[in-house]
Symmetry: D2
Subunit: 296 residues, 4 copies
Amino acid sequence: MSEQKFKGIIAYPITPFHPVEGGIDVGMLSQSIERLVGSGVHAIAPLGSTGESAYLSDDEWDRAAEASIKQVARRVPVVVGISDLTTRNAIRRAKFAEAQGADAVMVLPISYWKLSEQEIFEHYAAIGKAVGIPIMVYNNPATSGIDMSPLLISRLVKEIDAVTMVKESTGDIQRMHKLHQLSNGEIPFYNGSNPLALEAFVAGAAGWCTAAPNLIPTLTIDLYNAVATGELDRARRLFYRQLPVLEFILKGGLPTTIKAGLQLDGLDVGIPRAPLAPLAQEEREMLTKLLQEARR
Amino acid sequence: MSEQKFKGIIAYPITPFHPVEGGIDVGMLSQSIERLVGSGVHAIAPLGSTGESAYLSDDEWDRAAEASIKQVARRVPVVVGISDLTTRNAIRRAKFAEAQGADAVMVLPISYWKLSEQEIFEHYAAIGKAVGIPIMVYNNPATSGIDMSPLLISRLVKEIDAVTMVKESTGDIQRMHKLHQLSNGEIPFYNGSNPLALEAFVAGAAGWCTAAPNLIPTLTIDLYNAVATGELDRARRLFYRQLPVLEFILKGGLPTTIKAGLQLDGLDVGIPRAPLAPLAQEEREMLTKLLQEARR
Amino acid sequence: MSEQKFKGIIAYPITPFHPVEGGIDVGMLSQSIERLVGSGVHAIAPLGSTGESAYLSDDEWDRAAEASIKQVARRVPVVVGISDLTTRNAIRRAKFAEAQGADAVMVLPISYWKLSEQEIFEHYAAIGKAVGIPIMVYNNPATSGIDMSPLLISRLVKEIDAVTMVKESTGDIQRMHKLHQLSNGEIPFYNGSNPLALEAFVAGAAGWCTAAPNLIPTLTIDLYNAVATGELDRARRLFYRQLPVLEFILKGGLPTTIKAGLQLDGLDVGIPRAPLAPLAQEEREMLTKLLQEARR
Amino acid sequence: MSEQKFKGIIAYPITPFHPVEGGIDVGMLSQSIERLVGSGVHAIAPLGSTGESAYLSDDEWDRAAEASIKQVARRVPVVVGISDLTTRNAIRRAKFAEAQGADAVMVLPISYWKLSEQEIFEHYAAIGKAVGIPIMVYNNPATSGIDMSPLLISRLVKEIDAVTMVKESTGDIQRMHKLHQLSNGEIPFYNGSNPLALEAFVAGAAGWCTAAPNLIPTLTIDLYNAVATGELDRARRLFYRQLPVLEFILKGGLPTTIKAGLQLDGLDVGIPRAPLAPLAQEEREMLTKLLQEARR
């Protein structure tokens, strides 16, 4: 695990839209990514759930991928999120990301009709065959409707060369234990569940994929460092201090809450795309309060 | 309920793809719709789950909608399925369907980020404002990731003029009881769960939205008629006779199993779009057997 | 199914306790059973969930069983509920019920530690070996913590001679379909879920096991008769008329709500045993209103 | 938390039965408790789930409580498990345990009929009023059928004087986070989910209630010490080393697997009470192998 390119805090940018015409605001996108890179996070993961990639047209998606990779400019690694209902468009996007200079792709299979394990396998195998960069398997049943067992995930890693990393977002620590056991600790796994940040690192996670650095970058980085240096009491204190923010952004929906939080910080990133609604006034006040307490 | 335009058996067509280039096979689409209309079903519902609408590009979707409505040619009513993650594209599609001559649209909200009840309401309200044809609320958490309570659904019907019908696909008969109670029996509800066909009619459903007529049209129509004329024993026998087929097509995924069944009947409609896989050989044999037993 | 001893409305009595000393009030128990028999129900099922059998000591249980069977005095069949965590005490109770003259026992396996299918099988086999009267398998995971699949249930019926009937209380109509399919309609099944009363009869249930006859006996019997004579519209009207009462007694807990309802009718049957609390005043008023509307 | 009487490894004994007459084997019970105390665990918790207390008659329960407390002889603290469907018998048992010298009682409310939050509160309040020793609230929906939210639990601690500790066995680490947040870290909580042992300590658990010390006492105590001294890498290694045993005993049922394991170690503690079956031969071999690997 020590040679992993991706480790530590892997941050998700949001995707800002123009208030009037509704298209992607590339200038603001670059600005918000610059802010993340400057905060010291260890990698950037554009076009994930937080980036509303599911709500973008193909053209928009391409523009966002291109602009994000260009802005990071190889200062930290970039893993681009790929989630599309059809295998052919997932391949198209993965190849586009690779061509733009992505270091890896994070592939989330999406369900309308439930997929069999073999259908999921073929989906990953087809993408793996099409690209020359590593693939991170991404399991997030809450958004994708597909739940991949640790056994299936370890099979993907073992049988498809391009698949080398796993992101687990179920929030179930036992899934991480099982991935550890199934690979004798060899499969690098990443935590995608914010309220599990402390325990996932303790269980051996190589990194934490999170939108929280948009609002509280230092706390997330400090937590990672405290566990890495074995300062358990400090890690616990840091975790409980940021937990209310982590729970709030998860519960309110990441695009909704992170965009609201960035605006509270003076970055005018607009609102999420309908049917997603902007954060209600009462909840903006709650977020203001939670951020003050965490940052104090 | 007696004046409803939509009642009885509302049939879903599949969407055939060209075996080589992969695009929509409009000729075969028209042929499969003609077969359904000719079988005596009471309405046609193109671009539903069975029609793989979630796996189509916008251009493909438009072509399929246009061709389907044209083929039906007003011989029976047409309700076009609208399911898109963004409100603006859902509106675009609904308006397109109306312009092509659809009698109604069946709107399924789709989740990536979970939607609040108010976000769902605004989604329907925006579509209702944009079109002049009736909207059928469609609840199907298994595919859409969104579960609308009977209370929310009845609010949609009461507060949005265009929303006049409800399709319930949870398979939970209590949802239908609740819709009945919340509206004193006034909201017309349609059953979208095949294995609930008998009981939903008994509980008062105005219709059954189903892909089964592609394979066993007479049995589905006979069941509807038997309940309508109060022949309960006959209805029960008809139901248990077709139940193995209904369970099989549901479990195997409707596009997968219906396309396989149509090919068994000599209609070369191809296979579903990847990552969906065609029906395995062993299951094709099972389907052959089940169809023989049901049709005997 | 036509030769079944048990069919139609199978009514559960409550178990009244003395207000002061807390023991069983046998006089009131007999009175409440007499009321049920007099109302015209087709069978009596003492010491079920409604009878708080889980909250009785062994001595109390024996007294209640004896008094109940004696009061019915063979005017209608009696099926006595047997639910005990240990096999040996379940056998003891079943033998006691048989000795007192029970026509059958209704056996609910109970979970503290989850039971394997084989452990459940052995439990039934041991009881079946010990008694000479028929056993009704009772599946009710909500109270017992054990969910028996239709496949396991049909195995119990096929392989254990004494097991001849099934009571399904999951409220899932598909379970009943499956029991029908697994036995070619030969296994007599009974519905134990009040809000499924109409559809279970339509699907072929031989009877409805219910506490509702304590409060609305005529409506339950009329519903059974309407389905039996194929009067579907009448059956649907009768069902929707009593549904609010059925939902209320289920949601509030049967011992709690039925005892409150009997007291509203002038029968002083006391309150359930702690930790179960009596029905709150606000809910008693709701029940009064619901009963008035159903009985109007 | 530092002044807690109960901390570290709190071990559950099993309850051995005579092979022939079936009653409690008090000599063997004492011997197995002596083995636990001698292994260095920090406290003993008789008559928990592992002790099959749910399957004992009142007389048997009393004998087991008396013998267990006597055998420990105040060398370590004793917390006696109290789980009874009725409040009055729960009180009787709690008072008996106190009279015999128990240091605390661990109270698990049990469901047949679901309890409201107020009914659960009254159950605890009544027991709290009856005894003079501290009460540990025990939440274990998998066995008890009742799931108490962190909010309800914190209310029990705040409003009932005798309630001072919490045992959480859902295996959901977020429950522990919430208990921490609701009490500013003041409520001592104990982990009852074996596969969560590492993370629960990291999240701040005061102790781990477990049957594992019957088989691998040193590993459990070492894990506790490693976390306490901040040796995170060592703790992780110790955890993953014992995890296969922890998962096995949980999945197979604690009385079943622990009794089998003790017999493998030469202690003839018999088998669990029917309907629970003894561990199958194949699984005994698996357990032998897992124990060898953990102890190597």
